[in-house]
Symmetry: C2
């Protein structure tokens, strides 16, 4: 690569946990770091479900990327969508512009995977960004509004039925939160309809919830959800989703659940940009990286975070798609680049090891599950730990304070502070009421 | 009106200040109160410009209407758009449904008035609801993002030029806030562009800002804005707005201002629903009411808030379209209805008198103007008073706390907490970057 930069250019695509940590690790280096994201904000994904369920306002879980890097003078931020990668000439294409790189770090994450049923996206949105969270919040709150107006009993029941597809952390957290809205936050706000009769159905194709956790925690989460009134369907696959509901079924017969609000939390695949690398991707569109997280055949192009497919050489386990894995891999690559810019030969990179610091998922007020090493527990203590860890990692001091305040209020008064229905209605009758 | 209600039905259309106060005044009466609004939230309009300028999050200035009336058991809330009024049979039409009324109170306010140039709406949005505030915030923040990417000097200048049309309180507050964003909140976040070179132009057709205030305060506001770097054009009328900018001119010649972000704060007209009354409206689409705020010829239909056109019989002055006028008129009508339901004859209604408790507008940090009776003042004290009064009237205890916290943070660190660009891009180049 022969370019006329005065300082080597490190382009990082994506300002999630992985991209942020990578750029931070290059602070103080002589690199010219360019962070490119299609949005102006870093999103704290683990709390996004709380925006979708009206507990937190969108700005509490987002931090302007520019502000994050305000003091890192060797880092500039570009808002734009990277559409192509020229691995030979060393450019990424944004719009009509080209941004040259000496090192490229892809940290652009995952998008929803509807496994060939892309038409389901319109009726069953997923939860990966602020717009989707606001749309899900709109649909959930709108269902209660429409139920209040609906004279027909069957139609009202279908408006008060929520189906969440996918029993991972996002599905579990959404199901618990919607059940709490219906039974705790809003019953006294409605005059005609009894929101406590709301049905929340969580559909999981596997044989247990939270498949990535120890089975003990899966049972605990299931018990806690059932106590909140959630119906948990295990081993059930969704065969059809349309505006009127969901068809789920085992091999021996299908069941129809009438619902006007279906949420997709069942699968993810790598961002399509990965295909610009012109190498073979995994079946879910991710990049199988080398031990040093570089792309096979391109030692100055790395993939970090959820988009990388990587088995830890020690444990043989795949690195999970969680914030910790993203942060650690981003930091690892940032340090490699920093030391090579100081002259270390690329043969000395070493291999990435993932340190599992534990996993947590929350189910409701004072209900969560956690595992740290071989230590597994649930209940109030897990929930307090979950709260502390999530606030501690929330980017931006101001966001931490606001989130804590909103939670204190929510958990004391069951009062959800962001019950806003905004945006254009996209489903059925809602159009007239937007 | 012969209906088979057990209790008389009072339908209130619109849950702004006027509608809310009217419904509250009926608490404890034997009326069956139905509040209908096309949105699920009451909006605290006086602070909406702070959402548009990223200082407050949308949920801080909005309160769910259902929650406001949670404890008022004789009040139910319907989310829906009233499309027609049958004044004879006593029904309002929502969608395919009909809601009967014994008393009807129209409190649906005003919408933007482009004075026949409706095509300007797409390029110069106004500020009346949350969606519009988010759209203006998106455009303002996006202009800086695009400027950072723009290599062409002239195009960059047009991206860094903001034009606000209309020198009333909203226009003054927006202009001051955008100037503060550019000079205080974000300069260190950008690497290529100097946001302090931003041009903010406030165009007012009349000969002074804040025409409804005393001329002394108009001069004070103008001085304060100029000190913040705002260009104030007085006696200039806008003759054209398009995607590339604004043409302003006096009779003796027109000037072109190239700008990619124009905001309309120049005029309002009554909500179109008023035409369903089948009476002659004022030139700006409002309803000229009787002394008791009833509609001529319909003694059980009232108009309150901004939608009413009414001259105070004592002062001969028109009641201004401000929160105080809305609240007082709503309360006045609520009390009339409550006492008639207790048997008072309708001949004893009396006439509505507006009590002017004072007016205020804020220009920037520690800068505001206020008048209370014949007492006029500006500066830090006016600004503190403005802050206290606005927080005190903000609906919902939680909103008050959050807003105070967000302000404390903003005014201490110049840090705007809601710098989120969300939603679909609707203008030019933004499309590629949304």
């Amino acid at each position: 690569m022969s370019k006329t930069h005065t300082r080597p250019r490190v382009v990082i695509v994506g300002a999630g946990f992985a991209g942020l940590e990578c750029a931070r690790a290059l602070r103080g280096s002589n690199a010219n770091v360019v962070v490119i994201d299609r949005r102006n904000h870093h999103l704290f994904q683990p709390l996004l479900y709380q925006v979708a369920t009206a507990a937190l306002s969108p700005s509490s879980v987002a931090a302007p990327i520019r502000k994050v890097f305000r003091r890192q003078r060797n880092c500039s931020v570009l808002m734009g969508e990277v559409e192509s990668i020229d691995t030979q000439a060393g450019f990424v294409g944004i719009d009509e512009r080209q941004e040259p790189f000496d090192y490229l770090v892809l940290a652009c994450g995952m998008t929803h995977n509807y496994f060939g049923n892309e038409q389901w996206q319109a009726v069953a949105p997923g939860l990966k960004n602020i717009e989707e969270a606001i749309e899900i919040r709109r649909r959930v709150l709108m269902s209660f509004e429409l139920a209040e107006l609906e004279p027909d009993e069957r139609a009202r029941r279908s408006l008060l039925t929520f189906v969440i597809v996918g029993g991972g952390p996002t599905g579990v957290e959404l199901a618990g939160a919607i059940a709490e809205i219906a039974t705790q936050s809003i019953p006294r706000d409605f005059r005609r309809v009894d929101t406590r009769q709301t049905r929340v159905v969580l559909v999981e194709g596997g044989d247990r919830l939270l498949a990535a956790y120890h089975p003990e925690l899966s049972s605990r989460a299931e018990r806690d959800l059932v106590a909140l009134g959630v119906e948990v369907l295990l081993g059930d696959r969704v065969s059809e989703i349309d505006e009127a509901g969901v068809t789920v079924g085992k091999a021996d017969g299908a069941t129809r659940i009438e619902s006007r609000c279906v949420i997709w939390a069942a699968g993810l695949k790598g961002e399509p940009l990965a295909s610009s690398l012109n190498i073979e991707l995994t079946s879910d569109g991710r990049v199988a990286v080398e031990a040093d997280l570089s792309v096979p055949g391109h030692d100055r192009i790395f993939v970090v975070g959820d988009l990388m497919a990587h088995e830890d050489p020690k444990s043989g386990e795949p690195v999970p798609g969680v914030a910790q894995g993203a942060m650690q891999s981003g930091r690892f690559v940032g340090r490699i680049i920093a030391s090579e810019l100081e002259g270390r030969p690329s043969g000395e990179r070493g291999a990435f090891h993932y340190h599992d610091k534990g996993s947590m998922a929350t189910i409701g007020r004072a209900k969560a599950v956690a595992e740290i090493g071989s230590w597994r527990f649930g209940g109030l203590f897990a929930w307090m730990l979950w709260s502390i860890v999530h606030v501690a990692f929330l980017v931006g001091f101001r966001n931490k304070l606001i989130a804590m305040f909103q939670w204190a209020y929510l958990y004391t008064f069951w009062s959800r502070g962001s019950r806003l229905i905004t945006g254009t209605c996209t489903t059925g009758k809602g159009d007239a009421l937007g």
